[in-house]
Symmetry: C4
Subunit: 235 residues, 4 copies
């Protein structure tokens, strides 16, 4: 069993271990990234995080070189999606000397997508793609209609509420924020109608909106359950 | 290829370009309309918006005249849905000399409906209409039941909360606003029960309400996925 | 065509008109009932509402007597569901002389159920009952599980938050109010966790809860769409 | 009919009564547990609750000994799930002399699971398990994707809002709380974006999130309704 198989495939035990280690490091890298955003860390913790950071980047660099080494077409790997992601994950460290440019490190998040590989051999993922292909057009249609509804809601509430609450409903853009928070039923409560007209309008738009916004999720669920059912019946 | 085909159909390249230009202008017109509602615009931006406005109306006017010119039955176009919409979109400008009557310009929003034409040849739209036809009666039934539930919730909470919160639950109409915000699960937090009775009532009404209000969206999703699935199987 | 047919059936034109008039009066009665809860009504409006009230009760009384007159088994009508409802709708007026006991008048709301008669001949209602019969056991199961989940959520959050917010999460009963508002995703914002433990617990309980609470509505929608689809295919 | 059948089975009348009594006591135990958390109880009520507590524990102890007595393999019962649960439910009382260690008594809640036995012979439970088995992989997939989406939302909003609201969006962990409350559409309103970038980001993440988070519940509902439908058709 050669190195190539270990690095590029995950149908053997060493290949799986290699993949798992890389994924663990990605998760560790995410955890340290998150912890570093905490504002009141003491010096000891900060130093520990920095050391972890350096070690992770070194391992990621070695992994990158290894992947480059085993790749049959070097350039093809460098320019591939994963090749670019792997490079972006380590590059900021070398450019910024590992101290500054913290915000650039967010690109390391892209390595998250390596995790998607896990799904590649997953049957559920295959069924999801089949179900999605069937209802793709419906989802596009409902997304467009949702966008239109959001805009019309914003315009409507602007005309009802602008006079009564000139600060909250300052412009159609401010009203759009209300429309998003309301039609998704999040309802933070930072902005809401107070006039009778605005409240009746909200009621009408919600009655229509609830029947539209929840449809894509329902469509996906329904199609998925059907595809899944068919697969299980075939067995 | 004559002008008529370009203006009225979109199965040829020039026809598609004409449609696209009109739709782009509609979107541009919507954007300028929205930007103008911003309260602290400087004079330069205001002037730019006014010029854009004049240009858009001129092009829309030319388009209207063109459509009138190519129409076989002139009167039939003028009185058609799109004919009226196209006229309403430009009329306020000429009446108000493009400065006042800003609020009338909202009717230009109706031109939005021209965008619906995009859906006319769309298969998803066809499937949506078929699915909707199948569950139309169910949706009417649930809409009626939802309206009844909202009213009964308002009456109930009024009797529980009116004494404890005479300002928030001032009348059944004020309670209705609570019922809308609660049963749609928006929950702004501007008005909510504080008495034990009111909270138990809210719990009971939510348990029933959640099982009713979400049904139309689920019905639509379920029927759509079924129709969509059948179409794909036939192929 | 005799009076009996007009009063008791709605498959003829006079029968339909009679039913419609009664239903209009029920709606009018509901509107006046709601308007009367408004706190700052002037004397003129109050008088108008009182007169409307008297007229409505007189017509309802006549209707009750008429229904009693045409009923073959008088006692059977008086003791039937609609007989009791019709009596309750007018009785408070005579007992309280139409001025006091406003709260008793809420029972008139029960006449709302007369409106359900509208659904009796409705195909959608029939399909709803068939769909409901199929998934009845599932709905009971999920209601029980939801109740258990609500209680466990309340206990959990009580232990996490009671110390940090002794006023908001005073007891398990107060925590139950939080559980209801959170798991239904209403989220008024009057009470929410602030400790790290409480927030992680909220996350976990929401992930589980969302997958349980929305199920009955989805079940109903799915079963209804299926029954509806079968009906349309048979045609 | 011997004691063994009464204690261990519930297909006979005495067996059902025994089960029912145990379940009633579990519910009573839960009620007293909840009432005790009320902060302003008078001494009389406290004493009554303590006495009830002692009686319940004595009966539970007798039940435990009885189950041990009728069990063919004593050790097997002691080490079984229900055996451990039954012991945990009474142990804290004897260790703490029934006064202190109130928080340990929460383990009695585990006896709740005895109630699950009710579902064992339930057809709906059987169908639920069948439906769940079919869509298990999809639910795992969506749970993983939801977790990833929550984290990415937290990182995104942190970069948009941290500067404008350094207190509310203090770190990625604080942002995660926002992500949970927003993507589940609970929207308490204790923390929400105020910058334009943050609001647009919220909109985008909600459009994607709504189409993902609601899917597991929809899947379960759809699969359940299908399994249920098949069962009813077979009859």
């Amino acid at each position: 069993m050669d190195i190539k198989a270990i690095v590029e495939r995950n149908d053997t035990i060493p290949g799986r271990i290699f993949d798992l280690v890389v994924q663990m490091l990605i998760v560790l890298s995410i955890v340290t990234f998150s912890v570093e955003t905490l504002p009141d860390l003491d010096t000891g913790t900060r130093e520990l995080l920095e050391i972890t950071e350096v070690i992770i980047v070194i391992i990621f660099t070695l992994e990158y070189l290894l992947r480059l080494y085993v790749a049959e077409k070097k350039l093809s790997y460098v320019l591939s999606f994963y090749g670019v992601v792997d490079l972006i994950a380590i590059l900021p460290f070398y450019i910024s000397s590992g101290v500054d440019l913290q915000s650039v490190r967010i690109f390391r998040m892209l390595r998250f997508f390596r995790a998607i590989k896990l799904f590649r051999y997953n049957k559920a993922m295959g069924r999801f793609l089949r179900a999605f292909a069937i209802i793709k057009e419906e989802i596009i249609l409902f997304t467009v209609v949702t966008a239109m509804l959001l805009y019309l809601s914003a315009v409507g509430i602007y005309f009802f509420e602008n006079e009564a609450q000139p600060e909250a409903f300052k412009s159609i853009f401010h009203s759009l924020w209300w429309a998003v928070a309301t039609l998704t039923t999040v309802g933070y409560g930072d902005i809401y109608p107070v006039t009778i007209g605005g409240r009746i309008f909200t009621f009408v738009i919600l009655m229509i909106g609830l029947g539209i916004i929840a449809v894509p999720a329902g469509l996906l669920a329904s199609a998925l359950s059907r595809v899944s059912m068919e697969d299980h019946e075939e067995k």
